[in-house]
Symmetry: C2
Subunit: 436 residues, 2 copies
């Protein structure tokens, strides 16, 4: 007898029971479908890469969290996001790609951080990016929210709001105030406004040495109104910075295009406090919140960057992209009962031949169903009807098909609706129509 | 300026350009679709597990190949197959599963072996298994080849043959010859018959000390004929072993059922030399070869085992399963030009608004296409028609849609077939019908 080892997995790793996995896959498939409908091309980069390549830019927190190890003479790491592999890929294959290059990747990434509620060490990211060679039209900045809009509409998980900003507005504004050397610190402070409130933000600005400019900053971040009104207010500000004007102009153009892209006005907004990654994004930035569940934070974020792959090539590769952290999103949606797992099986019909002699008839029925894209599951076990029905019940498959002597003789099938308990006899020839 | 690091990946890791990736995904999707059509439930286990759990059984070669490392206080490993995680999963969640439990998993596994032609360190396995609690009907042994048959029929990669055997026949036969203590060695020798020929196999048998029985063994492994004929010949042998008779009976029943399952007789065969994993399989075993490419070896293998999870639970969990090594199969199919990548894009239509003012019209057309599940890609770049057409050409999308002043005025779209170069004007209202 072998020694028994307790079967368990590491904390911070999501593993689902089949009904949950079916639901998870449904969401993943929907995201993929929308991404492909916009012409994004699939990519599937290796899970393991050379540490030297993967960590070309990384530092600080990322480096601590990474799964890094030696195998033979190689220093290896598991990917911690999908952006660095994309940068490496585009630089490596730039002569074989058609720019602008639109790619999606839906893959697991790994970060060995301390596990805590809502944080995962292994999680799916669903990324889209559009990479230009030397330049990239601003129209793509408007296509991103259009894709997000279609994804979340199709996921059907309630109202949501795509929030837009432009880093040039923020950087230009602080430049105009003579605070360019403190921009990073100030952004960090105003990013907390939802959490700590305006009063505390103001205090922290003073502490940072921006006492003179604090009023102006507070008035800027508190700009209210529709996107059009906010843009008008921004244009009315006398900020001495060409970058600021450029940012306002870009944001105005993107929001105008959004309407053309069919994004309902109720679903987007301008939010001047959004900064995102401090040393990465250079233009438009995005966050997406579920209106009824603001506590979940942003469920889809990203932005425009000037140069994707400067660590791997001298070619300038500007891009724009967004990412959905699917594992975290899924766990939040389930926790808040925003989605429920209604199908416990991939199969639509469970076929129950009463004994072995009815297997041929069951197989004929299953083949007819599968030919019509109706997944069918034949259960060959169970000593009697009671055992068979117990299995049917636990399987969660909507309909149990009973196949015995009467059914074969009359070329019928007894169909039991497992939810209502109703039973009816249908002719074999009507079987696929019943499920259509 | 950042230091430039050469963008590259490790040898033995497959990474594809988009047209190849589209083709790869198509195959992966087909396999998943067939698996689901038979009611297999999806599973997605963690990539990283505790070494203690993952290596409960492993030893020798596996242990050397594994990617194993420490993170914090944990001794971790990347999964090297999908069977061990399945065993751990079923043992861990046995109270939440409905037995027989049918699951599929299509995931990457990792083996750090010396990279060589056709060998990968990271590769997809596409596994199905059916796990019973205490017992599992032999009918499921026939369902496995039925699934394989449907997969390879649908993949449409030419003729193939599913080869069946039963380990009880082999073990019983050698037991009857008084060679039970040499079974493993003999199996290893006869497994090489295709490679080294009958004469050399006979010589090696003699070396193993089976001189007396060598003729009988050679006559056994050379049994020719249809499955029915082979079974008759086996039954005519006077082998003194109940295990042998049991194996013949099981194999006969499985092949009979196969016809009921609709598996064309041309597509399966009995092959008495197939043994598969020596200390794992206990009953039916499978291999699948592409008839026109026998050199590729088995592209889908598996079998019946008595006890899936003895290292994790005392509950007896018999099962039957097969696995497709997709990464290797794909690389072989491409190398031998058995499949060709015909679609260079996920999109069916490339929309080319002549300048920004025609973007709204292009977006309207794209939305109409997407509403009808026709992926549409809008290209916003290119200074002139020539540049736009160059992009269209390289994108590999079948049809370029030109949208300019004439088109908007007449509510038409100029459609260019990128393969033939033919151009025609269609009315906006006929757009989706054109692609249907």
């Amino acid at each position: 007898m072998a020694k028994i080892i307790t079967p368990k997995i590491l904390p911070g790793f999501m593993e689902l029971l089949p009904p949950e996995q079916i639901l998870f896959n449904k969401i993943k498939d929907t995201i993929r479908e929308v991404y492909e409908s916009f012409g994004f091309l699939p990519l599937d980069t290796p899970t393991i890469e050379y540490s030297e390549v993967l960590l070309a830019k990384a530092g600080g927190e990322t480096e601590k969290q990474i799964y890094r190890f030696n195998k033979g003479d190689n220093d290896l790491s598991l990917r911690f996001d999908l952006t660095v592999p994309l940068a490496r890929y585009v630089a490596q294959h730039r002569n074989d790609l058609n720019f602008p290059f639109k790619r999606y990747q839906i893959s697991k990434v790994f970060r060995g951080e301390r596990p805590q509620k809502g944080r995962f060490r292994e999680f799916y990211q669903c990324d889209i990016d559009i990479i230009g060679s030397e330049t990239l039209s601003l129209v793509y900045d408007a296509e991103m929210p259009a894709v997000i809009y279609n994804v979340f509409k199709k996921l059907n998980i309630g109202a949501f709001k795509i929030k837009l900003n432009n880093r040039k507005i923020l950087n230009g504004f602080f430049e105009g105030l003579g605070l360019e050397d403190k921009t990073a610190d100030i952004l960090r402070v105003i990013d907390k406004i939802e959490k700590i409130g305006a009063e505390n933000v103001r205090e922290e600005l003073v502490k940072l040495g921006a006492e003179k400019q604090a009023d102006e900053i507070m008035s800027f971040v508190s700009t209210r109104g529709t996107p059009a009104e906010k843009l008008e207010k921004l244009k009315a500000l006398s900020v001495d910075s060409p970058k600021f004007s450029e940012g306002v102009e870009e944001l105005e153009k993107v929001t105008e295009l959004l309407k053309t892209f069919g994004v309902d006005e109720d679903y987007f907004d301008i939010e001047l406090t959004i900064a995102r990654g401090l040393d990465y994004y250079t233009g438009t930035v995005y966050e997406t919140v579920l209106t009824d569940y603001p506590g979940l934070g942003s469920v889809c974020s990203g932005g425009r960057y000037d140069n994707l792959a400067e660590y791997y090539t001298k070619q300038k590769l500007p891009g724009v992209g967004v990412s959905i952290g699917l594992t975290r999103l899924f766990s939040q949606l389930r926790e808040n009962n925003i989605i429920t797992s209604d199908s416990l099986s991939t199969a639509k019909a469970l076929l129950l031949p009463m004994n072995e002699s009815y297997i041929p008839y069951a197989l004929k029925a299953a083949a007819a169903l599968r030919d019509n894209n109706i997944p069918a599951y034949i259960f060959y076990g169970g000593k009697n009807m009671k055992q068979k029905m117990k299995y049917a019940d636990r399987s969660g498959i909507g309909f149990a098909l009973i196949l015995g002597e009467d059914e074969v003789n009359n070329q019928t099938i007894t169909v039991k609706n497992m939810k209502t308990g109703e039973q009816q006899s249908i002719s074999f020839d009507n079987l696929t129509a019943f499920f259509a």
